[in-house]
């Protein structure tokens, strides 16, 4: 299930960081009550890769991202990010549940963009982008503002720097949210259906920004999307989920045009 077999398909690969497993799920099980959402899940994402998760509703895609963001904890198994255990710590040769500080340290490598943007309504755009870099990473205010301006330019919102989120359209808010996540200079960007709360005419703008980021940076991306064209454009690897397991994975060309599994074929038939 490793994505490393598909190196030759990738044009976005940064050779310097390629090959190392940046994210590694090892026999991760997540249950809600008696419902098993992730079932001994194993997969990994190599540094610099863009991996898309597809699968029917309720198959556990969001759960994977929320586990990575430590918004929930797995019942069993371990998750590693950049070689460090995310929810565990090694103490005296044993794995113990990690403390708050350790989790925060590992999580700094991960950025997330939410379906509903979740900008901070009490802060103007600039402060949405500088607050965490200043108070979490310890950047100086000038540095953080400089970085924020560059990112706002990247997402094409320079003129809105002094507005509150409520004064922006959904598409603009989502682009600010992307900039906010990037301001932390994460190694991994998690994207959970970032365009599905948007009006149709605003979707393209957001996807363009993400394509731009995918093609010009070496950030690792793990995204859940129903935009199959977008997935085909940016992905090195596509993982098809069903019932808490990866049932098929491979390069987008392969998965989208010639899937092996019946379930994948059915699913793609329904969404394409």
């Amino acid at each position: 299930m490793s994505s490393s077999e598909h190196n030759e398909n990738s044009e976005h690969t940064n050779p310097a960081v390629d090959g190392s497993e940046l994210i590694k799920f090892d026999n991760v099980t997540k249950r809600f009550g008696s419902k098993v959402v992730l079932d001994n899940l194993c997969f990994d994402v190599s540094s610099g890769k863009h991996v898309t998760l597809i699968g029917p509703s309720g198959s556990g895609k969001t759960t994977i991202l929320r586990l990575l963001m430590t918004l929930m904890k797995p019942e069993e198994g371990t998750i590693k990010v950049g070689g460090h255990y995310l929810t565990h710590e090694e103490k005296g040769g044993k794995l113990v549940p990690a403390g708050e500080k350790h989790i925060r340290e590992v999580r700094k490598n991960i950025g997330m963009v939410f379906q509903q943007f979740n900008l901070f309504p009490n802060m103007k755009v600039l402060r949405n982008l500088t607050e965490a870099p200043v108070h979490v990473l310890g950047l100086s205010k000038e540095e953080a503002e400089q970085r924020a301006r560059e990112l706002l330019e990247l997402v094409g919102l320079t003129e809105h720097i002094d507005k509150y989120p409520s004064q922006l359209s959904g598409g603009q808010q989502q682009r600010v949210a992307i900039a906010r996540a990037l301001a932390m200079r994460p190694q991994v960007l998690l994207l959970d259906e970032v365009t599905s709360a948007l009006d149709p005419e605003l979707v393209a703008g957001v996807l363009d920004v993400l394509r731009d980021i995918a093609h010009t940076t070496d950030i690792t991306m793990l995204c859940v999307t129903h935009e199959m064209n977008f997935a085909r454009d940016i992905s090195d690897d596509v993982l098809m989920f069903d019932a808490g397991r990866v049932i098929e994975s491979g390069a987008p060309e392969k998965i989208f045009s010639d899937p092996e599994h019946e379930r994948t074929r059915e699913f793609l038939g329904a969404v394409l």
Binding site: M69, N118, P121, N122, S166
Partner: protein, 257 residues
């Protein structure tokens, strides 16, 4: 009414104002402290904070005031002056009510906001300070408005302990002048005016707080008689508006927008 009596009443009003301000300040601190503890991740902390709130909501501020004034000295051989005993009793009691307001408002902030805070690796304290409290604050103000008016009226309890507040002074004046009806009416009016001032102040605070999270309060133009006209004059920008036609301002304000 003689000037001596006037002085008595003014002093009484001043004491009422002081009691209200000091007790409110204490109540606000208590409300935030215990309201935040009520949302703590450890159940034992939530439980203890809950105990405090239940005890102080469930006991009478007046009895508590007496207790502080008369019983505490027996236990610690230290007696607070009645004024501070009253501030303590009122502050702790209304703080307990306020704590529930704070807890409710904090919990009403969308959970996704906290999640966004987690995603940016803010510590719990930072999430609280930078995200949750600023967003919950505007929601707290209207119930705080109610509580501070309740507290203002609650300060009249101190007159029983012989503190010379408005109610106490009014009673003396009433005895001196033998004019019960009139004096009681004036006393009501004084409290009403004080409550009105608090209410207006809190409305202004609410407006400011909402603007601070990019959610300006939809302001019914006809609500503020004086200021409404002034604003109208500013709004039409030079074009004279006859104040006599203030009655039509709702319509013209609508046309303006």
């Amino acid at each position: 009414m003689t000037s001596g009596l006037w002085e008595l009443v003014l002093k009484g009003i001043w004491i009422t104002v002081q009691l209200t301000v000091f007790s409110s300040a204490l109540a606000l601190a208590v409300a935030f402290a215990f309201g935040i503890l009520r949302t703590h991740r450890l159940w034992i902390v939530r439980f203890l904070a809950g105990c405090y709130i239940e005890v102080f909501r469930g006991t009478s501020a007046l009895v508590f005031m007496f207790w502080i004034f008369f019983v505490l000295p027996l236990m610690f051989s230290y007696q607070l002056v009645p004024m501070w005993a009253a501030v303590l009793a009122l502050g702790l009691t209304y703080g307990a009510y306020g704590a529930e307001v704070v807890r409710g408002a904090l919990q009403a902030v969308a959970p996704a906001q906290r999640e966004a805070g987690v995603a940016l690796s803010f510590t719990r304290g930072q999430q609280l300070r930078k995200i949750l409290i600023p967003q919950a604050w505007p929601e707290m103000i209207p119930p705080f408005n109610n509580l501070s008016i309740e507290l203002l009226k609650g300060t009249a309890l101190v007159s029983i302990m012989g503190v010379g507040d408005t109610a106490f002074a009014a009673n003396l004046v009433r005895l001196a002048l033998q004019e019960s009806a009139e004096i009681y009416t004036y006393t009501l009016l004084i409290y009403f005016v004080l409550a009105f001032v608090i209410s207006r102040g809190m409305r202004a605070l609410e407006r400011k707080a909402k603007a601070g999270i990019g959610r300006p309060m939809e302001k019914p133009a006809a609500r503020k008689p004086g200021a409404g006209v002034l604003q109208m004059l500013k709004k039409v920008d030079g074009k004279a508006v006859d104040p006599q036609h203030a009655g039509t301002r709702a319509r013209s304000a609508g046309g303006d927008a």
